[in-house]
């Protein structure tokens, strides 16, 4: 009996020791960040830039794995089920909050399946119209849309996409439902806006900045509290007289529930370092966005953001009455 207890104690001691040593040595191998969208898109690009900077700080490679499908929820599910050892992470945007309402049969519990590492960036949105739209200001656009509600078309990149959320918010802000035209992805939607096949679209600066600068589309407003450096001539929605339109496509970094606190802490520190990286800041600026501040790149800030955003979008989505499953 004594022998057994001694053996157990020894085993426990060894386990504890290796546990502590393991945490000490973290990270000792390659870390994978799951992006729940296909490679090449804006979220993927944001992740690759941050992952590159984080691997410099962590001294281990940070790989990006694309697990696309079902509005990002397949990738989120993959990470929710992953070993909570700090080697599988998730970088997901605002969809983390909206899918909680958009999907009525989500296979994970959004608020209880993940540990929070921090906010990464919040990409502003821009309200655009085709080049030959008559309206010149946001107020004129709103008037025009209200007067022609049955024929003004609003493009989006599919249910749950940033452009879909923004379109819903725009219609709810002007109090008039318009004709929604979904596409499979931002590319075809933007092509049709350039060709004047549809009237209005609202999308992330990552997709729209270059088109606005080239004058191929008309820009009416940005959804940020202040004007953007890359688009100094585009007023904010508030300046244009539209309230309740302030929002951005925020991105957060998550780990599976049960990941040790010191690992989460290490990752959070690393994220903060990465967000101060010159290359990351410069690339983000070209896309019309900027890295999250140090207080935002923390578990607490991400948790608060997710909770408030779930509450914000639930009534908007329920009012639109459109779900993704």
């Amino acid at each position: 009996m004594k022998k057994l207890i001694a053996a157990l104690a020894a085993a426990a001691a060894v386990t504890l020791y290796s546990f502590a040593a393991g945490a000490q040595a973290y990270p000792e191998r390659t870390i994978t960040v799951v992006v729940p969208f296909s490679a090449g898109g804006p979220t993927d690009t944001v992740t690759r830039l941050v992952a590159e900077a984080m691997s410099k700080d962590l001294g281990q490679q940070v790989l990006v794995e694309n697990v696309g499908g079902a509005g990002g929820t397949l990738g989120a599910k993959r990470v929710a089920d992953a070993e909570p050892d700090g080697y599988t992470l998730l970088l997901y945007h605002i969809g983390m909050a909206t899918s909680a309402t958009l999907y009525r049969n989500l296979p994970y519990d959004t608020l209880n399946a993940f540990e929070y590492i921090g906010l990464v960036t919040e990409v502003p949105m821009t309200i655009l119209a085709k080049k030959d739209m008559e309206a010149d200001t946001l107020a004129e656009l709103v008037d025009y849309a209200k007067a022609n509600a049955d024929k003004v078309t609003v493009a989006n990149a599919g249910i749950g996409a940033a452009s879909h959320l923004c379109g819903m918010l725009f219609m709810s802000a002007i109090g008039t439902p318009l004709v929604t035209v979904p596409y499979k992805g931002t590319g075809p939607a933007m092509t049709d806006l350039l060709g004047g096949q549809v009237d209005i679209m609202c999308d992330q600066t990552t997709n729209t900045t270059k088109q606005i600068q080239a004058g191929t589309v008309k820009a009416y407003a940005v959804t940020t509290p202040e004007r953007l450096d890359v688009l100094p001539d585009v007023p904010t929605t508030a300046e244009g007289g539209l309230t309740g339109m302030e929002f951005g496509i925020w991105h957060g970094l998550y780990a599976p529930k049960g990941t040790q606190a010191d690992i989460v802490d290490r990752l959070s520190k690393s994220l903060q370092v990465a967000l101060k990286d010159e290359n990351v800041a410069a690339r983000f600026a070209e896309l019309g966005t900027k890295p999250s501040s140090e207080p935002d790149a923390t578990p607490e800030a991400l948790k608060a953001k997710l909770e408030s955003e779930i509450a914000r979008w639930k009534p908007v989505i329920d009012a639109a009455g459109q779900y993704a499953d």
Binding site: I159, P188, G195, Q211
Partner: protein, 502 residues
């Protein structure tokens, strides 16, 4: 002349030793992954994105990635011809006659024709990109939902020509393909459709999985039937190079295929998919020997291969002039540019002339490298067929599984391969052709999406399809094709052509 200056800037950028090296690396890698069954350029470029950080120079990275893309186009037709395994929708057409040529011992000629056709098409379409990119973009922007719908109608109406057996069976296969294309999510209502409650199927069935199943796995199963008739293994290969007669027969199809592919490749919403199918239809229609199609007609390889490569080159036009990707590979290229600090947009040609013209020049250099590489390699590829089946088949299955899984990291795609392999085998036994099924599967979702979008935009008024001139013209072409197929006098001739092989 601006063009001359621009091209010389492009060539001086692309012909630095450094960039030539990356171009060579890209096309080599592209050829390799194209030859490995099931592994496509999308997964490869995604895996290589991190390396572009290390390369540092955006022009070099993009030259390499572009090389992978068109290298894969060359390589992909190799597996289609040798083992009836198309890696992409475009090479599904090449498989029809290319594989039959291989079974007759003419694999070398088929591979050579594919390479020569691709090179010619690549050269012409590269110059088209250089000369006419902006005006062509303006035309592409005229294509709205109504025009795409009508274009897809033309594609579907023409698709029966893909079959070389019973026309009823071909129609049945198109319809089955259309139905399979419904699996996924209704993009207008968000409602899941026919996904059996499996979330992994909520974005539809994976094209590569379906193609690998109905073509490749089915072919392997068929070959396992009889010890003595393993047609994948060709013992005697007669002549690696095309004969004088082949040359005579392939010139016109290559020219027509190049024209068709260049035109359709410009359309960002899936035009390029139609290019090789359309070319096959045209060749079969104008051929003096339509009865040879499906049994190893060299025109059936030359035309579609040229069309597919021309389309691959001109699909760079929307990317370079609008900053909008025409397909997933182009989306990856944009991702690579952004990582390098270049956000592509309509002004990329004026803001980054060295990059823009360097990539265009490298396309031609890449094509040249590919033909120089591929012609001597034909002998080697053909030798692969002499590998014993107990080694070759497991290798094919292994690579297919890796390739299919690498697209979305989704195990359900592997279940699809198994299911469609068995289905494909059943279809072979029923003498049904898989090519029309694949065309229906690819075009169905586009047809539905654009029909509904056109109706939403027109507020439910179906007259848009005939009042918009481009759409009306396309519908008229579809009607003309129908008339040709069903007019009694023509039908008599048709029956001679399509008579059931007995």
């Amino acid at each position: 002349m601006d063009l001359f200056d621009n091209l010389s800037l492009g060539f001086s950028t692309a012909t630095t030793l450094f960039n030539l090296g990356f171009c060579l690396m890209g096309v080599l890698l592209g050829t390799l992954i194209g030859v490995l069954p099931g592994i496509g350029p999308t997964a490869t470029i995604a895996m290589l994105l991190p390396i572009t950080f290390q390369i540092g120079d955006p022009v070099s990275s993009l030259i390499m990635l572009a090389g992978i893309y068109y290298g894969a186009q060359y390589g992909g037709s190799t597996t289609a011809i040798l083992i009836n395994l198309p890696g992409e929708s475009s090479s599904a057409v090449t498989a029809i006659d290319g594989y039959q040529m291989a079974r007759k011992g003419r694999a070398g000629a088929a591979l050579a024709v594919a390479a020569i056709g691709s090179f010619f098409a690549g050269t012409v379409s590269t110059f088209l990109v250089a000369l006419l990119a902006p005006p062509l973009t303006a035309i592409a922007l005229q294509f709205g939902a109504a025009e795409y719908f009508s274009l897809m109608v033309v594609g579907l109406v023409s698709s029966v020509a893909l079959a070389h057996g019973s026309i009823i069976k071909a129609l049945a296969m198109v319809v089955l393909g259309l139905l399979l294309g419904l699996v996924g999510t209704d993009i207008y209502s968000g409602a899941p459709r026919f996904n059996l409650g499996i979330r992994e199927y909520s974005d539809g069935l994976n094209f590569v999985a379906v193609a690998v199943g109905v073509f490749g796995i089915a072919e392997i199963l068929r070959n396992l039937e009889d010890e003595h008739e393993r047609t994948v293994l060709i013992k005697s290969v007669t002549g690696l190079m095309p004969t004088r007669d082949d040359w005579r027969r392939m010139v016109a199809p290559i020219l027509r295929g190049t024209a068709l592919g260049s035109a359709l490749g410009i359309l960002p919403g899936g035009g390029a998919i139609l290019a090789s199918f359309a070319s096959y239809t045209v060749e079969k229609r104008v051929s003096k020997h339509p009865e040879e199609f499906g049994k190893g007609a060299i025109e059936g390889v030359a035309g579609p291969e040229s069309a597919n490569n021309a389309g691959a080159q001109t699909s760079f036009i929307p990317l370079l002039t609008l900053g909008i990707p025409a397909n997933p590979v182009m989306a990856l290229m944009i991702g690579a540019m952004i990582i390098q600090g270049i956000v592509p947009g309509p002004n990329v040609a004026t803001e980054q002339p060295a990059l823009f013209w360097g990539i265009i020049a490298s396309m031609w250099i890449g094509n040249l490298m590919l033909i120089v590489l591929n012609l001597p390699l034909i002998g080697l590829w053909v030798k692969l067929l002499t590998i014993p089946y107990y080694v070759l088949f497991p290798i094919i299955m292994g690579f297919c599984s890796i390739g299919v899984y690498s697209v979305n990291s989704n195990v359900y795609d592997l279940y699809s391969v198994a299911f469609f392999g068995i289905l494909g085998y059943a279809l072979v036994k029923l003498r049904c052709e898989p090519a029309p099924l694949l065309l229906g599967f690819v075009l169905g979702p586009l047809l539905e999406e654009n029909l509904r979008r056109a109706m939403i935009i027109s507020r439910g008024d179906p007259s848009v399809f005939v009042t918009r001139p481009i759409s009306a013209t396309l519908l008229f072409i579809a009607l003309a094709v129908l008339v040709v197929v069903f007019l009694p006098a023509v039908r008599k001739k048709r029956e001679e052509v399509f008579v059931e092989e007995s």
